[in-house]
Symmetry: C2
Subunit: 517 residues, 2 copies
């Protein structure tokens, strides 16, 4: 049975194991951990330089000749003031020089602040961050195999879970609080429920321009004053500022203007669906998304030069057989990776969607769907990977257990983003020589192996690596049951992100907060 050379043989020499155990017992300093938020990706390049130049040329053509319809009057004023041309057909067209000029002047680096200053995100270059996002309308009950309406408590719980997961770097609100009928209250409670659950950076989305002032007032109270809010805005606004193809979303543009003026970073979100609201070809969907987001970038810079804006080309895939959205496909992974390259091409901080599943449950399909786009997004150097945890049913369902498991999945993706270090030390020629010639013939106990046990390797929390024998002895642990146990453990402790009593009293006095104290 090929014994001498069987690659499946397990290695367990007691001397090495004891040394490894001792090494592992020592705590690992943060700076020596193997993965971090903001690692540099960029080794995956589905587009060539020439491809990107061709895409950009088409983008300029689309902006100059097709333009965008339906800007609000305020937007028309901003844009025409900046040099755009309002046509007789009501479409706003963008001269090439204006677009190129905007790209050259736009903010190249954005800090997305955390509330406590411990997990700020630096968006620049190919630095990769993973987090949640979306507007799911249902929660997935894993063990009951049911979909039920999502609530403000679910959102708060998602925030508390995200707060505890190292590889979820931000919380954009992933679901709609369907137990709150009034849209204004829903928006305000979404902010409250998120911020009371995590101090990581938060993304929200205002439904109507009228709600922004209340939202800002709430944020000022949370921050301890408007000046403190403006110094470190820890919440950004996700703006679906276009209705693809090539139309401004009138109300959302008005929301965006107010957010910019209120000091909130904005996500310029263009969510075309390839084959429905965007061309069915990957290149075509990227062209349209880039055109729309460049229009948005001109808009933002017309409102406030240099205002922080995330270039949010989020084209989604479609199952052309049925016309339904599909986010777990290879086409989706390519759409997102191609967009990430265009962000680099333009040199602007960007985000897109990856890591979501079409599968209804956290099963094997969900695993392969989530990993495919999540790892490709990271490898392509996407600054903000949205929808990267807990998302099922083509964005319709959110699942707390799946969010917990995404910490392992994204940890693995981040290890891939980190890549391969090639130095004299890592090439290990001396070690190979010492091991082979007069040495022990294996590397288990070498100081180099021991010293890299934590700094180079990522270990799963719930992912299981036991042998079948060990697994049977452990009672065949079930991945989903373990995820539920972890969820209950996290939710069994009151959130440390809750506001101090005085602030909370003030917030509850001013706003109708649905989440229990």
């Amino acid at each position: 049975m090929n014994k001498p050379t069987n690659p499946t043989a397990r290695v367990a020499r007691s001397g090495g194991r004891a040394a490894r155990r001792a090494a592992r017992a020592a705590p690992v300093p943060e700076h020596l951990r193997s993965i971090h938020p903001g690692m540099e990706g960029g080794t995956l390049k589905p587009l060539t330089q020439q491809d990107m130049e061709r895409i950009h040329s088409s983008v300029l053509d689309a902006l100059e000749n097709i333009g965008l319809a339906d800007a609000p009057q305020s937007g028309i004023d901003y844009l025409v003031g900046a040099g755009c041309i309002l046509g007789d057909d009501g479409r706003i067209r963008f001269p090439r020089a204006l677009v190129e000029d905007t790209i050259a002047k736009a903010n190249r680096s954005i800090t997305l602040f955390s509330r406590d200053g411990k997990t700020d995100l630096e968006l620049s270059g190919n630095r990769v961050h993973y987090g949640t996002a979306g507007a799911a309308v249902s929660m997935v009950d894993v063990h009951g195999r049911e979909y039920r309406h999502s609530t403000v408590q679910d959102l708060h719980d998602a925030a508390r879970i995200a707060d505890q997961l190292n590889n979820i770097h931000f919380l954009q609100r992933p679901m709609v609080c369907r137990d709150i009928a009034d849209n204004r209250e829903m928006d305000l409670n979404s902010i409250y429920a998120s911020a009371a659950g995590t101090t990581k950076h938060i993304g929200v989305s205002f439904s109507e321009p009228d709600f922004v002032d209340d939202g800002l007032e709430m944020l000022h109270m949370m921050a301890g004053g408007e000046d403190k809010w403006r110094e470190r805005p820890f919440v950004s606004n996700s703006n679906c500022f276009v209705v693809p193809p090539m139309k401004f979303a009138t109300e959302s543009c008005e929301v965006m203007e107010k957010c910019i003026l209120g000091g909130m970073p904005v996500l310029l979100l263009s969510a075309g669906m390839a084959g429905a609201t965007a061309p069915s070809t990957i290149a075509g969907a990227i062209v349209q998304a880039c055109a729309e987001c460049l229009a948005g970038l001109v808009y933002v810079n017309a409102v406030k030069p240099g205002a922080p804006a995330i270039f949010g080309t989020w084209p989604f895939g479609l199952d052309l057989r049925t016309g339904a959205m599909s986010v777990g496909s290879g086409e989706q992974a390519l759409l997102t990776a191609g967009c990430a390259q265009m962000h680099s091409f333009y040199g602007v901080p960007g985000g897109a969607a990856a890591g979501a599943a079409d599968s209804k449950l956290p099963d094997m399909q969900a695993g392969w769907e989530q990993m495919c786009s999540a790892v490709m997004a990271g490898l392509s150097g996407l600054n903000m990977v949205y929808e990267a945890g807990g998302m099922h049913a083509s964005l319709l369902g959110f699942c707390h257990e799946s969010l917990i498991l995404s910490d392992d999945l994204l940890g693995q993706a981040l290890r891939c983003v980190r890549g391969i270090e090639v130095t004299d030390e890592t090439m290990a020629l001396d070690q190979i020589r010492d091991t082979c010639i007069g040495g022990p013939g294996h590397y288990l106990g070498t100081s180099q192996t021991l010293s890299r046990m934590e700094s180079d390797y990522v270990y799963p929390s719930l992912g299981d690596r036991t042998s079948p024998k060990e697994w049977a002895e452990m009672g065949k642990p079930d991945l989903l049951q373990n995820a539920t146990a972890r969820k209950e453990e996290i939710l069994g402790v009151r959130s440390a992100a809750r506001f101090d009593a005085e602030t909370d009293k003030a917030l509850r006095g001013r706003f109708n907060i649905h989440l229990p104290s």
Copy 2:
């Protein structure tokens, strides 16, 4: 609730849907299918050119100064004859010029033949093929959650399943027939059970040199004569020709010599475990694997210049906490992707392991583990992605249901390998203009969308994309139960790859065939 701009809204315009249904009803010609065996990867480059040059320099150093021990006498004769130096310490060292010369002269392109000529694999450049491999000792009973000994019937069934899956391009024998006690009979029955189940290219592995003659005799009988076998050898031999670090596997080398002379393509398999039998660093493990495989390449070309040999750098990951193998990690995906780049650097056809899981069952963990390395292997342009279907428990268990599901998983990976086509047509500027200006405002019914419905998109077979509502109406289909149903469907039909009655009678007269007629 952000209605106008909600990216989760489903699009279902009846006109478009009817047109799509009509288009889908037409059969898709093979050449218009969206994915194929042998698509060109190479967009993922975890190593820079400089990294590869440094690695190569270390590799040459290792071969010149450390060399390999334990060659058989025949191997010493071949290698010294080719210009290697046998040291007093028994190690064979490889002068740089000899190694460079071998790389320059080695076979740059290999055809791995199928038995029926329909699925030949052309290994060159960055052409990607996925298939099974391994030496699992257990079968996974998904519904009973049990591991049991693997048998010759299990191997035959795996072959029959692989034969029916478009995205499994070859069958290297993935498991050991533990119901056959005699090693010679096991090897011969592994060939028979595989070939009786699929006409795709087969990989086997002889345990002892003495068994090769019998194996070749069997293959001659299957092919209809030695000349026909040598014209289209449809079985290759997987040779664990080294025992890492840097030792030849004496017996396996003797097997290899016999295979080469018998006209079989060989896989030069170096399966070091990073942290145990190879350095714990990714770069170090790649250096050692490349050194070992280049030693093998010199060996093969000394036996028979230009003989087809697959550069099999298969370093595996290890969980350093326990010393157990781990193949589902990010480190594994990087090891394999880095090796694929080195194959391109050398310009030789290569293979490595990807797509295997540590998880014991086809659950979410298995999905993310399998996809991570499988898609990265493809994106890096690996010619032969071994272990890419059905493999669990760090190579100890094989699962038929998981193999079936890998067809969907690998189809998605292949879509990513295909990448993004950027042409005037795919950038779709005319289509964007016509849709936005005086057009319908969506792309659902455009001729471009309809024509690309099959040629550009990959649809899963068992992967589910229904909405939660449709899913509930369908009775909440279970992925694994559907995989089992598909398995029973495939195994319910007698294999078309079975031999004609006369050949089968002859084979059974000459060899003790365990598989029932």
